[in-house]
């Protein structure tokens, strides 16, 4: 039992470089910035309350309250703004600017923890208040930002580290949070692959065809797609195998590189052929942060923890 506990502890708390954290921070900063910029012209329209927007935000928040009264939402911040005399439009615009600043702050690594918490909170508020218009990308952004804000920031590539020299001492948690992200991705792909395997359309390629011609993902002309029809069954089976095999093949040194590259190629393809750029980007960021360091990049042997230890001379 003790041996098992020790092995589990070694697995969950490996000594780890903070390269993965740098990738996650910069990647999520980039993602948040793109998210904010992509919605700049529709932000107020998507998230306005009664009588102002596309869908009434108050309706989404009322439904959210049935599930959870304490899940963050934009309505709270609009109410705070109203207390100081700010109109809803003004509050929403300020929140958009704050989100953009948090994204840029994360990319640069200035006030990394504050920016991570701010980005997580504001994005979560937008995702929950825009519940009817949110989709998979919002879930994965929340997951990534949740782990990022709990991880031991700042990392050594951040400006915080360069200028403030604020070097935290909690290196064991670097490995722990990377493990959490890795295991979460394994669960995600396994269940995604499993549910796809249950549908006959993924085995004969018809689901690939339907995905590519289904509005609004019909980026490529179907007349052109028809010429490549022999590839659909191959692509369908490959996607099922890649996803369901992810938790089994991503851990082995022999198969990790090929699996990671294939998964990233799959997401790039989804981004290009279905126009889901933000979804593709967040998945690539999470994958590369979780399994990329030491594999796709030069392995950093020294951990931050080890570098900060005094040398012992006999």
């Amino acid at each position: 039992m003790q041996a098992l506990k020790k092995r589990l502890s070694e697995f969950l708390f490996p000594t780890e470089s903070d390269a993965w954290l740098s990738i996650l921070r910069i990647g999520l900063g980039f993602q948040i910035t793109l998210y904010a910029l992509s919605l700049r012209n529709d932000w107020n329209y998507l998230f306005a309350g009664a009588g102002g927007g596309l869908v009434n935000r108050d309706l989404a928040e009322a439904l959210l309250s049935i599930e959870s009264r304490f899940a963050p939402r934009l309505g709270w911040l609009v109410a705070v703004g109203a207390q100081v005399g700010l109109r809803e439009e003004t509050v929403l615009s300020i929140l958009w600017i704050c989100l953009l600043v948090a994204g840029c702050g994360l990319m640069a690594g200035i006030f990394s923890r504050t920016c991570a918490i701010l980005a997580w909170f504001l994005h979560l508020c937008a995702a929950k208040s825009g519940g009817f218009t949110s989709y998979g990308v919002d879930n994965f952004m929340t997951i990534g930002l949740f782990y990022l804000m709990l991880s031991p920031l700042p990392d050594r590539y951040s400006l915080d580290w360069q200028f403030l020299k604020s070097q935290p001492e909690d290196s064991p948690f670097l490995g722990f949070w990377r493990r959490v992200l890795q295991l979460h991705l394994c669960a995600t792909y396994f269940f995604s692959g499993l549910t796809k395997c249950l549908g006959s359309g993924w085995w004969d390629g018809s689901n690939i065809w339907r995905s590519l011609i289904r509005p609004p993902f019909n980026v490529i002309d179907p007349e052109m797609l028809v010429r490549w029809n022999y590839l659909f069954p191959v692509a369908g089976v490959l996607i099922c195998l890649l996803e369901i095999g992810y938790p089994f093949f991503i851990w082995s040194d022999k198969t990790r590189k090929i699996w990671l590259i294939c998964i990233c190629v799959m997401h790039v393809s989804i981004g290009l052929t279905m126009g889901m750029y933000l979804f593709a980007l967040i998945m690539i960021i999470l994958n590369v942060a979780a399994f990329g360091p030491g594999l796709l990049f030069c392995k950093t042997e020294l951990t931050r923890f080890q570098r900060t230890q005094p040398a012992i001379i006999d």
Binding site: L12, S38, L39, N41, D42, Y45, L46, G51, G53, L54, V55, L59, I66, E67, S68, R69, F70, A71, P72, L124, F132, T133, S134, Y135, G136, D138, N139, F140, M141, T142, I143, F146, V180, H184, A187, T188, Y189, F191, S192, T195, K196, C197, L198, G199, S200, G201, W202, G205, S206, N207, W209, R210, I213, R214, P215, P216, V226, F232, G275, M276
Partner: protein, 197 residues
């Protein structure tokens, strides 16, 4: 360590529950006799996750809050087990002079366009007629703000039928099935739905 155990138990349980739901409700490679077993299993998992407790129950509320803030409140069955069709909403704008124009829900960017498509999917799939009507009504109101001179609006909601590959090769193209229609006027009257299922 306890947090780690609980966190992953929740991720796996919710993913499992959603998988069982798909087996119960969707056409899958399993025989239909399997559906009753998956339905029972889904019920057990849901009960273990506190989903059968009253919505106001503090345990359920606390759990839901954690799931939302961690982003793990849903499973990961994207486009599974099969890719569903999409939905379309068209507004018929009736002007006082008898003129009729057609409008679609409009946004300014592709990124927001994807979100509107997701919204239409949610409207199409909701089992609650009142919620569907309310959502269509709020969308109609947004159109009304852009065209204040319009007298009445008829919202027509339909499902897109996608051709299979062989059908496409034989000349068949995307078509629409009429599902619901709602008439709205400026007066505060409830919509008059015309429903075809």
């Amino acid at each position: 360590m306890a947090w780690f155990g609980l966190h992953f138990l929740l991720i796996i349980s919710f993913s499992l529950r959603d998988t069982l739901w798909l087996v119960t409700h969707g056409p899958t490679i399993f025989p239909s006799s399997f559906k009753s077993y998956s339905q029972k299993a889904e019920g057990v998992v849901s009960a273990l996750l506190g989903q059968r407790l009253a919505a106001s129950n503090p345990v359920r509320q606390a759990l839901a809050t954690y799931l939302h803030i961690a982003g793990i409140e849903t499973g990961y069955g994207y486009f599974a087990p099969n890719v569903p069709g999409s939905y379309k909403l068209v507004f018929e704008l009736h002007y006082p002079d008898g003129r009729i124009e057609y409008e679609l829900p409009r946004v300014n960017s592709t990124a927001a366009g994807l979100r509107v498509a997701g919204l239409l999917d949610k409207i199409g799939r909701t089992p609650y007629d009142a919620l569907r009507e309310l959502l269509v009504k709020t969308l109609a109101q947004s159109i009304w703000r852009q065209h204040p001179e319009v007298k009445t609006i008829r919202a027509v909601f339909g499902a897109t039928k996608l051709p299979s590959l062989s059908e496409f090769e034989h000349g068949k193209r995307e078509s629409y099935d009429f599902l619901y229609a709602y008439d709205f006027s400026l007066r505060e009257e409830p919509a008059e739905p015309e429903v075809v299922k």
